[in-house]
Symmetry: C2
Subunit: 314 residues, 2 copies
């Protein structure tokens, strides 16, 4: 993507110029073939890419254009939160069908909102026509000590941020032809990547983390597999939104909350006061009971089975 100064003529460039103008201070250094960035001394670079596709991640009528843009950027930024990284840049590749052209400014506005909220300037991108709307957002961040999925140890305490189930309830409602409640819809449309929260957790003894994109139990399972441990979650401890059962909360994907393992219990009240978001202890890390490390769900001392989580290829 190129900026308002260095661009030649052409309708594609006019569109890009308009987007860059809308982004204002959020767009930085656009105008060369590649963005130039600096990783702070002593820090490592974190990079992740995430695609949002019409009719896969949302359907027509579910979201406003600005929500589509915001959500695409927030979902990508959540991968940086999961690693306790500080965002430094967003690159956004937009594939835009003719019928979506009129909404491009709204989509860009949402991306700009996420950029401003999480101090991640938009430093580059790509714009092309397509027959289906898709936004691929690449995020770059830095961390002196990135938090992986593989650091959980037996005896660690398992926490989750926020209250779960909103996106799951919203999806259930839409798919059933109902309108979701305002709160459930908001959690789907405007997820909050837990950037600042992750830095706090990392500095308070976090050993591993993952963001909840496939569902709490599924993502805890990825963390368990990477760490070669079992992650045992108490069903009744899961923080569920009003209207969501604990089972729905355990399955609900695209939450963009964090599951974190901690060396020792932390002050949940302090966390909640600091961020206005609950931090809830939901389980413990144990030695694997079977050959394959996994996440398990328990209720009143008994294991509970849960249907599989989200899978784009199922």
């Amino acid at each position: 993507m190129s900026d308002s100064i260095s661009l030649g003529p052409g309708r594609e460039f006019d569109v890009i110029r308009d987007l860059v103008r809308r982004w204002g201070e959020s767009a930085r250094g656009i105008g060369d073939d590649a963005a130039i960035l600096d990783v702070p001394a002593g820090c490592r670079l974190l990079a992740s890419t995430d695609a949002t596709v019409e009719n896969v991640h949302f359907r027509d009528g579910w979201l406003e254009p600005d929500e589509i843009g915001y959500r695409a950027a927030a979902a990508a930024l959540s991968d940086l939160a999961a690693m306790a990284a500080t965002p430094m840049a967003i690159l956004v590749a937009m594939c835009v069908p003719e019928k979506w052209r009129q909404h491009l400014a709204g989509i860009a506005e949402g991306i700009g909102q996420a950029s401003r909220s999480f101090h991640a300037p938009i430093t580059g991108g790509n714009l092309t026509r397509a027959s289906e709307l898709s936004l691929t957002v690449t995020v770059l961040g830095y961390a002196a000590h990135p938090l992986g999925r593989d650091g959980a140890r037996v005896g660690d305490v398992v926490y989750v941020t926020g209250a779960l189930g909103g996106p799951g309830c919203a999806l259930d409602a839409w798919v059933s032809g109902r309108q979701p409640s305002r709160d459930h819809r908001a959690r789907f449309a405007r997820p909050s990547p837990r950037i600042r929260e992750a830095l706090w957790l990392a500095s308070h003894g976090a050993t591993a983390a993952i963001d909840v994109s496939d569902g709490l139990l599924a993502d805890a399972g990825h963390l368990a597999a990477a760490s070669a441990v079992d992650v045992c979650i108490e069903l009744d401890a899961i923080p569920a939104m009003s209207g969501a059962s604990p089972l729905v909360a355990a399955r609900s994907g695209e939450e963009y909350e964090l599951v974190v393992t901690m060396q020792a219990p932390v002050d949940e009240h302090l966390f909640a006061r600091e961020f206005g978001v609950p931090l809830t202890r939901v389980g413990v890390v144990t030695a694997p009971r079977e050959h394959t490390p996994r996440a398990t769900l328990r209720s009143h001392g008994r294991f509970v089975d849960l249907p599989a989580g989200h899978d784009h290829f199922s």
Copy 2:
């Protein structure tokens, strides 16, 4: 994207595991929410993202699956070449319709070939279903002194790498229902990002560069605008492939050759011996003749007009 160790069950993960296996040594560090990378001390980070979409950048039957993958990665890497950066990582977001599923391994193989050829490990990605094939490739690189578009100065000499016109001729043939010649087709299907060539040029006095994606004259125009100079190109000096007229060579896009302005003439023969690719002096940088800096085309002392270049939104 996650690796073969840390992944839970699910068909999406099986597909990713298969891709990572195929990539072998080319896939590195896949398995966390974000890739962890290190920029060499004293270097700056370069980042660019580029999308390839079915029916926009190619049509069914034009390319083999491995060529689609190779070309998508090569086009993105070319943006690093344009900045004289050394590649350090590729992230690839794949949106794959059901009918393309059987070709996914071939597409991945092509991405792997580009990764190996240019020493850019595949460090992350995203896989989602879609109704249209698109590949969004993000490339990360580093450079102590990135080369911009804005450094051209009056009196600089203008060079272009390679021989132009192949992709333009191939596209003309396909669109007219003919088969392109093997050479023209190869230049479209397997472009060569000029990574090593760019480092050589940067160390031999390059002041500005851009890669030829919109067409030589159009991209020289972007460079002219960024540098606030005129770039005057001699039509008859443009290195054209056999079968391509100089005018076709001046317009042909998606070449992924480089246009470079140099402080002084360099040894073109030395360059050709070193890289097996011609380097051709095609013009000079002058003060802007009109209010708007631009690239102009001259033949036998007279200015030649050329229809506008490539524009995805025209």
